[in-house]
Amino acid sequence: MSSKQKRFELMVGALTDDLYRYAYWLCRDPHLAEDLVQETLLRAWRFMHQLRDSKAVKAWLITTLRREHARIYERKRLDIADVDEEIVEDPQSQDVLMEVDRNKMRQQIMALEIEYREPLALQVIFGYSVKEISAALELSPSAVMTRLFRARKRVLDQFGEGLVPDELLQEGGA
């Protein structure tokens, strides 16, 4: 196996899961998410000789995936405001109560508009900081912070009273 191929396999092994999850929360469609991840990684394969630094590779993959998603989104207008929660059942979970909780939370995330869903996904899935999200999404840090507040407020309010105080939203700006 060539070293290029070896590096590709390592990259695929390390990043496929997170990329898939990110793609899933972008498009909310498991099949499309799969296509997006595949398209993105195969594109990386073609440019393997230029991709070295692993942190930069991740940023490049995220950029490529978002772009591909944006293209499909603009063309097909897939993003309908009211999604009929087709939450995929997760057979691995045992605890029924926990699963109910988790599915409720998933529905909350599903219902977020993309501008809130995406920064949240970048942070929760990739562990991105506000600064990294603002670079990836071309937004000011304060705009990213506001979106993250709003996203968390809407998702967490059901689960913990007063976790996200309103005064923070006002201070965070528009």
Partner: protein
Amino acid sequence: MNCLDVRRICLTEPTNRSPRLLMHIYSCKCCQQYRRRILEAEEKLKTAMDVTVPEGLDRKIAFEGSFEKPSAHSWPRWQAMAATVMVSVALGVILHAVGSKPNVVPELARHMMEDPLHMLPTQTDAAQRLAMVMRDIGGQWQGEYPENLTHARLCPVRGRASAHLVVQGERGPVTVFLIPGTDARNENGLKQAQLVAVSDLHGGSIALFGYEGENLAVIEAQFQQHVSWKQSLAARQEAIQLARYR
């Protein structure tokens, strides 16, 4: 740092562990409790977002990657051979040229080998792709989109996010690269079966590859007329990222 600041950080970067934050939390019971609740909630959020990945997706992609050799894909043999000829001819250019600016032609020729856009079926949404690619490279297309455009893709060239385009010329497909920055050496000439031209484009560079007999000046004029640059944050960001790969 006051209690409100702490909450703001907890909600926008729950895993933040800056010394100032931790110092406040050590000395403030209220914030200690708050942070614990936030981290618990965050744990649930993480579990909720960890959707199940289709079984074997990574193996499937690695497997497909192992077969994908862009130069020996599904296009006819003569086209692949034409690409090889084009590339070897282009590579010859660099050996003779001398100048202060580096020659971009060999890299572009190699890129065309690995990403032979001009051999792929025409993209039906090429104009739309062009709009997005232009935005992503920090440029702008002003006026109507070219009718002869068949392909548009964002590609890395010399570590910069650049436009890899194909337009239909008189003699066949003409590949056009739009590269931010003007540090590519101007080239002009006919080399056996292939014509190459690299020149400045309002603060960027344009490189055109066409078959013998093609009037590249006509196609270049089309781009000179419509392209302008306004370096965007994303383009700069990507430039930095890509530069680090090299």
